[in-house]
Amino acid sequence: MRTIDNPRPAGGSLLTDPRARAWLFQILAVITVVAFGWYLFHNTQTNLAHRGITSGFGFLENAAGFGISQHLIDYSESDTYGRVFWVGLLNTLLVSVIGIFLATVMGFILGVGRLSSNWLIRQLATLYIEIFRNIPPLLLIFFVYFAVISPLPGPRNSLSLWDAVFVNNRGVQMPAPSAADGFWSFWLALLVALVAVVLLNRWARARRHATGQMFPVFWTSLGLFLAIPWLMTFIAGVPFTWEVPELQRFNIRGGWVVIPELVSIVVALSVYTAAFIGETVRSGIQSVSYGQTEAAASLGLRPGQVLRLVIVPQALRVIVPPLTSQYLNLAKNSSLAAAIGYPDMVSLFAGTVLNQTGQAIETMAITMSVYLAISISISLLMNWYNKRIALIER
């Protein structure tokens, strides 16, 4: 029996068979791509060896021997380049995470402000967006660093808050907590508060669905979060003692320090990205038909509730996909931190380590894969969230 998908005429060669030919070309294409890739790799290897340039990833085991101004994990000069990698990665993630959080909050406020019925708020939000959307982020970073933070007084003339928090051109120094008697019971109390809040929320939602009555969930939760740990300190003692920063010969030492480079990059990037998120949020809200607002109002919801319960959940479906690209932009723009000496991935690893070891190809490959990994993680996370909030048609 002849089938339609095998139209090979009897006695025809394999070359005239379209299916065989298709396979042949596929295989040839794969071979070419693999061969080209192998050729590039081999060529690089040969040339590096020929020019006496060390290659391979062995350098990651070597001692780095230089200091780093900000490290979230323990680091000293005798640690390895591999450790420097993690320090740089965490510093990059720190900027991205704080930046994304701040940009989102500011962006939502701006987006809602753009549509406010108050003329002044509307104009201010528009002005903000039009200004910051149109300035290159690198200039914003320089502006914050050189024009806002540099002119602050030096450590000896710091602006201080109750002699505990100091602001100067070396950053913000604040007391750091260290564990005391009530440390564990404090965390226990927080856990209890958390469970209580979750239960309260469930109960309130169930009651709302059943009876339509609203319960002030937010304020009660906040109260619980503050009251339970606070009461616990009377029983078990204070959870923390505070290490207060003190002025020494050169610097204010002790406590936590937020370095000005971090402040500059986070402020500049969130201010910049917030302008874009603001527009995204505005378009998202406008995509929800005005009839929804009127319908919600006619059901007796207050304006805040209309926004929170009716408009935003529907607008999110339009907002989330472009929001993802803004998050990706922010994460990638964080590499501009290198310009002001913030020890991020680019400045530390693709900068200092590259230069000290001279292994450009390896360090650049590692750095690029890190940004790729960060970006893909953000995308996956946002896609998952997008799916979760997508309209479920019944």
Binding site: F25, N43, G67, E77, N169, R170, N251, E261, G341, S347
Partner: protein
């Protein structure tokens, strides 16, 4: 089908290009002669070593080394094109062939010489790392710097020496790392850091660029050996020899009393065999190096001997007024010494 063909053609072309990219002895001189100039990597603005004056012309010791190589190869010191490079960019620029030589106050170390595919051709300036601080702090010695914030340039040996020195003396510090020396100087001025550390010659150079140079003082400690010199790619001995002997010619010229003013006259009338050999009157020493006969004459006439270059750029005849010190000739109390031409 047409698309497949053109892709294959592109691949073929790419592989040919890749093969011709291999380095080999003699390739650099041939390429330099063919394009008609020396592409020289210099620093991104450092008075005395390499910086652009008001007319946009590059000046400095490092620049003069590039000009001397051009004078030796072409008999014309102006046949140089400059690539200002940051400390971070410099090695990659040389490795990838973007520049023919690096003359950029770069410290000669074993790992750079052996693992990075570079060869250092000599030492143009014997330097050491020091500290520049604001007088207001009342610091007299580097040992008092416990707890200080220190500005450094990224990717330098200074970054490593700094940490060695503070660890050895059990002192704490916070490093702030910038890409360019200008940025670190600006941060010292704004008070972001207490101390600027770099090679001493650089500190003097950066000090005169500050708004109030007199408010700042260079501490007495020198914490490292920093022999600064030109570097070329490994694997091209011919080019290596040319760059190396250009510097030696300038040192020998100073030792033999040959200056830019008297070089032509000496070349005509000398009775001294050392001078005659260096200036190409006797023997074929230029030809050995694949250079013209009068290579050393051109270097000294157009650029000067080592002493002249030093004085003009960083010494008594310049704003920096740095003493010869280690950089005096060996018979004058220093360590600058060149093998003989013969």
């Amino acid at each position: 089908m047409i698309r497949v063909k053109s892709t294959l053609a592109a691949l073929g072309a790419a592989s040919l290009l890749g093969i011709s990219g291999l380095a080999q002895a003699g390739a650099t001189l041939d390429a330099v002669q063919k394009k008609g100039f020396v592409q020289c990597g210099i620093s991104d603005g450092l008075p005395g070593f390499s910086y652009a004056d008001a007319k946009g012309q590059y000046l400095g010791i490092d620049v003069d080394v590039c000009r001397a190589v051009a004078a030796a190869v072409f008999g014309d010191a102006s046949k140089v094109k400059y690539s200002p490079l940051t400390a971070k960019e410099r090695f990659t620029a040389l490795q990838s062939g973007e520049v023919d030589m690096l003359s950029r106050n770069t410290t000669w170390t074993s790992s750079r010489d052996a693992a990075m595919g570079l060869n250092f051709t000599g030492v143009t300036y014997y330097d050491g790392q020091g500290f520049l601080v604001n007088k207001e702090l009342g610091v007299k010695s580097a040992k008092e710097l416990d707890g200080a914030t220190v500005c450094i340039q990224a990717g330098t040996t200074t970054e490593l020496n700094l940490s060695d020195y503070f660890r050895a003396n059990n002192l704490k510090y916070t490093p702030i790392t910038y890409d360019t020396s200008d940025e670190s100087a600006k941060s010292l001025e704004s008070g972001r850091c207490d101390v600027l550390t770099s090679d001493q010659s650089q500190l003097y150079a950066q000090r005169i660029k500050l708004a109030k140079p007199d408010d700042y003082v260079v501490l007495p400690e020198v914490i490292s050996k920093e022999p600064l010199g030109p570097a070329v790619r490994q694997g091209d001995e011919e080019w290596f020899d040319i760059v190396r002997w250009t510097l030696f010619a300038m040192l020998n010229a100073e030792e033999l009393g040959i200056t830019s003013a008297n070089v032509e006259e000496k070349a005509k009338s000398t009775k001294n065999p050392d001078v005659a050999r260096l200036l190409g009157v006797e023997g074929e020493y230029g030809k050995d190096l694949k250079l013209p006969k009068d290579w050393a004459v051109q270097i000294v006439k157009q650029v000067g001997n080592y002493g002249e270059i030093f004085d003009r750029n960083v010494g008594a005849g310049s704003e920096l007024k740095i003493e010869r010190g280690l950089n005096a000739l060996w018979n004058n109390g220093g360590v600058q010494y060149a093998p003989p031409v013969r």
